[in-house]
């Protein structure tokens, strides 16, 4: 009997022939991702008796959650992390301004096919877009990896999602992700490994594909994986930090669950307050007033996302009384957007363009809403209080809908813009 991707990679990393769901294995990650929480993890590491980290080369550390620092307290935290990075001679460190950890990990060629990525961030599964096994863990667990180089993992059951056919005009992979989450619910893939298959996935660009594993965390998955293909290998050609061996699931692997979706049946969707699985067709929500539009985040802050928004905003102005915040996911995206002329389009339309990072996504800074305000966002989470105050509402949508809604001052389908 064949094995799923999760069973195969965890067997390889544990040095055994086969693993089965439910089994516990001890494995050493190839990448240990942490961000602004690195200083807090260091405190736990010291409590464990740690002095030098087990392997500085596996660390990938990013300052992105509140970057550049909004307060002295945040700045002190960054200062401690820079000191730690220097003291421990950690090679893969990305300071404020470089961008969001999940995006930069991919750009820097550190998210590699067939590798194991563990991160102290719940959206770590994002790296599965490159064919890695990537899962989120707690801070104490990360400290234990720093100390010992390994961690226990439970081999998960696997859900296979097959997507058939191409998306319709005006529909993006964000809508596909929301469609699946709306169908399966916020615990639909609880503790499971998710594999994305089918011509509907293969047809997507790398930027569009990334939305799928990024958002799988919102249905409780442990990791999310797309089989790496030529698109991935070409992208890594000049970027991969080391050689890698892709791992593919066996054709006769046993799946705990198989779900099939047809791209052509998917329409633009909105995740309504206050849960990501509260998904409704855009047509039902159209007309809802918005105070702020937010384009950015690890979910939809890449060049293609900015291109989609720029196409909508070109030659148009934001509605009076509606703000728009644009945050490129990385400095690389920012530069490319500048060269492509998108930044000029955003500024001409009246939008604000800010430095790469997580921005207001989890309420830290750079454009949090007021009490009673409504935000339409390209992010992945809309929990009550996520952007700062529990008395505001967040609607999640694709980048075109976010941009169009900023122009209309209300949630609107881009084709209905004047």
């Amino acid at each position: 009997m064949g094995q799923t991707f999760a069973e195969k990679i965890l067997a390889k990393k544990a040095g055994v022939k086969k693993t089965q769901p439910g089994e516990i294995v001890e494995v050493a990650p190839d990448v240990a991702l942490s961000h602004d929480n690195t200083a807090a993890i260091y405190e736990i590491f010291k409590r464990m008796g740690g002095e030098s980290v087990f392997d500085p080369g596996v660390h990938a550390i990013f300052l992105d959650h509140a970057a550049p620092a909004p307060t002295t307290k945040h700045a002190e935290n960054h200062h401690l992390i820079r000191q730690f990075v220097q003291d421990q001679s950690i090679p893969h460190f990305y300071d404020v301004g470089r961008g969001i950890c999940h995006q930069v990990l991919v750009e820097e060629g550190l998210a590699l096919p067939g590798e194991l990525v563990l991160g102290s961030d719940s959206h770590t599964p994002h790296a599965g877009v490159m064919g890695a096994f990537a899962a989120g863990i707690g801070r104490s667990e990360m400290a234990s990896i720093w100390a010992l180089g390994n961690l226990w993992l439970r081999v998960p059951e696997t859900m296979k999602i097959i997507v058939k056919g191409q998306l319709m005009e005006g529909v993006t992979s964000k809508d596909l992700a929301l469609h699946v989450i709306g169908d399966l619910g916020s615990d639909g893939a609880l503790y499971m490994s998710v594999e994305w298959h089918g011509d509907g996935v293969e047809a997507l660009s790398l930027a569009e594909r990334a939305v799928l594993p990024n958002m799988t965390a919102e249905m409780g998955a442990k990791n999310s994986y797309l089989p790496p293909d030529q698109v991935v290998f070409d992208y890594l050609n000049q970027r991969a930090k080391r050689s890698y061996e892709p791992i593919l699931p066996d054709p006769d692997a046993q799946y705990a669950m198989v779900k099939e979706y047809k791209s052509a049946e998917i329409e633009p969707l909105i995740a309504c307050p206050h849960t990501v699985d509260n998904v409704k067709p855009l047509s039902e929500i159209a007309g809802t007033h918005v105070d702020q539009a937010f384009l950015g985040t690890c979910t939809n802050g890449r060049l293609e996302d900015l291109a989609m928004a720029a196409e909508v905003l070109s030659g148009r102005q934001l509605a009076k009384g509606t703000r728009m915040i644009v945050i490129p996911a990385s400095s690389e995206v920012y530069k490319e957007a500048l060269l492509a002329g998108y930044i000029e389009v955003f500024l001409s339309a009246g939008a604000i363009v800010e430095s790469p990072g997580c921005g207001p996504c989890m309420g830290n800074h750079m454009g949090v809403p007021a009490v009673g305000e409504v935000t339409i966002s390209s992010a992945n989470r809309n929990f009550r209080g996520r952007m700062g105050t529990k008395d505001s509402e967040i609607y999640l949508a694709n980048p075109k809908v976010v941009a169009a809604s900023a122009v209309a001052g209300e949630i609107i389908h881009p084709k209905d813009l004047q």
Binding site: S122, S140, S186, G220
Partner: protein
């Protein structure tokens, strides 16, 4: 704690999809950092009686997806510090489940037991046998893996790593 440990206590029963924001509200995550101070905020936005009345070895019995939402470890620490003996649920959010086991707080999955157990009754859990004894009868759960029992025996992941690190360093000195 060892593998023979039997946990006996009063049941606090809750429903499905209880998230980490109501177990340990986000507004306290940066203002309360001492574990000893956390129990007073446990379940603050779900059941105000809990923090006042919980006794050592009491047991939470919950529906599906207990602990969904953020990865904050305080949502486990506040319960562990309050003396809670175990959580029995139909299912757990993944990171919450891992945080429980790493804090040496038994997180046990038994959907049938959850349906049968009543709020307020006294139940008994035998970790080694994988059994729950309650008024409605005896129910079973998959025993915890050996690896996890080692972490339990050490008192949690932090002391466990501390011990292993110490052993490794001593080994290096001798070698």
């Amino acid at each position: 704690m060892n593998a023979n440990f039997v946990i006996k206590g009063r049941v606090w029963k809750y429903s499905d999809n209880v998230n980490t924001d109501v177990i340990f509200p986000g507004k306290y995550t940066y203002t309360v950092s001492d574990p000893a101070e956390m129990p007073q905020y446990a379940l603050a936005d779900l059941d105000p009686n809990f923090a006042e009345q919980v006794q050592p070895f009491d047991i939470i019995v919950a529906g599906t997806n207990w602990g969904c939402g953020s990865s904050r470890e305080q949502a486990v620490t506040c319960l562990k510090e309050s003396g809670l003996g175990a959580i029995v649920a139909k299912s757990f959010a993944r990171i919450y489940y891992r945080n429980c086991l790493n804090a040496a707080l038994p997180a046990l999955i038994s959907p049938d037991a959850v349906d049968a157990i009543q709020d307020g009754e006294i139940i008994e859990i035998n970790l080694q046998r994988g059994e729950i004894h309650c008024a409605a009868g005896t129910f079973t759960f998959p025993p915890l893996p050996e690896m996890v029992m080692k972490i339990f025996d050490a008192g949690g992941l932090i002391p466990y790593t501390h011990q292993r690190l110490k052993t490794q360093k001593e080994g290096q000195k001798k070698g």
